[in-house]
Assembly symmetry: C2
Homo-oligomer: 348 residues x 2
DNA sequence: TTTTGAAATGTAATCGATTTCATTATACAA
DNA sequence: TTGTATAATGAAATCGATTACATTTCAAAA
């Protein structure tokens, strides 16, 4: 385990000051090209590597962005991460990923840790069980930019990247209604979170606009994991629904699988509509109708806005105003929600 | 944007030295409980937050582990990450995730960056196009522990967490043979990587053991993404195979979908065997036979071994010997590879 | 009361790079 | 040759926490 080579070692070896070394390695025009070359050569020869911890301490930055995710196991999450990474790599930032596993307590602990690590900015999607948002105030007080995406805090004024969940929920439900489905069951998650609440409102509005009475017995919230979804589905089937609108493709796929196992035909007997456009949906039979959710684009947008805020902050300009971006989502109609006979009839 | 509160501010406010403050906040028994309480209270009151960058510089550590992944978009990758995270969270380490997108060049750049960030250890799965492994030598020279998992460098002596890919490939192929399939096509990825090479060897050995001549025309390497897989499958179909052994569940699902679209029945006409046990496989029809790949366990093991190495290193004991762990994988026989008629016959 | 050892606190160096504010070298004009 | 502007380099402070080593405090023993 050799000792690290520092700029002091380089300075000694070349009989120069650390100031010159530092400047040379930073490509500063203040040092003579010939000197710079000498320093470069010696740095290579001695195997010098910059100590970013020391650099960051001095520069009062970390060139790191914290990403606080509710979960990482979905296609949506990895898409968002890919989008964030694309931008941050280009802008030479690192990302520190923390995930809360949908647990508000862990979200708080993670937020605290990222703050202590002095991340230059934060990208957040709230956990399912988060209620208060006090844990972000240290960031606001220090003027460290925070961008929320997807799962945002409704009341708080902040930077937000979202889709129009109300509209998406409305359109998905309206589509099912147009296909002739009437008793549309809705499986979703905690209504505390904007995304689920908005979609639910969209669902109810679409029903109302089609003169259908909303039946509370046709709606259930759960964690959307396999077991909970199956349990909830089982319960809802007693209400004799003719369609399911499920706010998650994985849960929708689980339902479809179980329905088919019970001999129920999709979409003839029961129509299914998912949400998120997970790859999964294009590989199951019948192909799942869903709402395309541009994860990569959300990630890119969030990262770009965050980095812009970080940069303008450095230039001293305060940027108090909050950006709010709505990314377009689109209804993706495939097979699980399109009644074939009805379709055929309409063509004849 | 207020100024950060430092231990100097606390020291001044309480008329104590920074040494005492630092010790108190670290729960050192060297400071009187009463003093500690006072310090704690003042820290809370003034909103003190530890600056981990300064702390890490002084302590010559980062309490961060670098994770270098070939990709992050698979169920396997997220499982591994979950496993790593479980351990690191418990041991109070952060993880810095870098992914190479299967590109060797990016892997080199990422490795360099993680080194400069002074990660305390590194967990790696090699990219598809990586050839040399010189980029890891700075870690070895500095005695920074590195653990490879899954995609490891065969020739290099190092810490490795793998499954027995040869055995898994053998068993998967043998199972298909037992089911009566004879012309088994093999779709895999770059044979440069141990995992694919070993599985391929297992495949060939199983064929040989069943007195079946290996036909090179039945084997193709590709990136395993949708388009490439479909192209390769199309080509292989000309060789009239009666089964596919595909080293990736996603690619297998894509194939199954396309085969069924062409009216080919699975498993009656063609049997399909995947690899990795992606959730996907349990949601498609017929359910995909595959090899269960314990990602979470691999992640946990890799993280635990790495942290142990970091700890023993701190205690001064050099740990030159390399750990090599083989995690058990299991053949998961579902529907896509089991000939129903044959099955029935054997029961009658 | 003095001694003594442990307990508590303090002083200052340290981690490694950056950067402000000098200072020295160099080139060109007068 | 001298003066002067500019280019190049250096000395030392700085970022904030930790910690080796020194010093003070205090209670119990002598």
């Amino acid at each position: 385990m050799e000792k690290q080579v520092t700029i002091y070692d380089l300075a000694r070896a070349l009989n120069l000051s650390t100031a010159t070394i530092s400047r040379a390695l930073d490509d500063s025009p203040l040092v003579k090209p010939k000197t710079r070359e000498k320093i470069r050569a010696m740095a290579d020869k001695m195997g010098y590597r910059q100590n970013l911890i020391a650099s960051n301490l001095r520069k009062q930055q970390s060139r790191t962005i914290g990403v606080l995710l509710h979960e990482v196991n979905s296609y949506f999450s990895t898409s968002v991460l890919a989008g964030i990474e694309k931008i941050t790599t280009h802008e030479k930032y690192d990302i520190l990923i923390a995930h809360s596993g949908e647990d508000g307590e862990r979200e708080i602990a993670n937020t605290r840790n990222l703050f202590n690590k002095r991340v230059d900015g934060l990208i957040v999607s709230l956990a399912m069980t988060t209620v208060a948002t006090d844990h972000f105030t240290p960031f606001f007080e220090q003027g460290i930019p925070v961008v929320f995406f997807d799962r945002v805090a409704k009341k708080m004024p902040c930077n937000k990247i979202v889709i129009d969940n109300f509209k998406a929920g409305y359109e998905a439900t309206a589509h099912l209604l147009q296909q002739g489905y009437r008793r549309i069951a809705h499986i979703t998650a905690s209504l505390q979170r904007n995304v689920y609440e908005d979609r639910f409102r969209g669902y109810k509005k679409a029903l109302a606009d089609h003169n259908i009475h909303f039946d509370p017995l046709l709606m259930e919230s759960c964690s959307l994991n396999r077991e909970d979804t199956l349990a909830v589905m089982d319960q809802l089937l007693e209400q004799k629904p003719d369609a399911f609108f499920i706010t998650n493709d994985f849960a929708a796929a689980v339902c479809m699988d179980e329905l088919q196992r019970r001999g129920i035909r999709i979409p003839e007997d029961i129509g299914v509509m998912g949400f998120n456009n997970d790859i999964l949906g294009s590989l199951i039979n019948p192909r799942l109708s869903t709402v395309d959710y541009p994860g990569t684009q959300m990630g890119e947008t969030a990262a770009q806005i965050l980095i812009d805020k970080i940069k303008t902050k450095k230039n001293g300009k305060a940027t108090a105003e909050h950006k709010s971006v709505i990314i377009p989502s689109t209804l993706l109609i495939r097979e699980s929600s399109v009644k074939k006979d009805r379709h055929r009839r309409s063509h004849k």
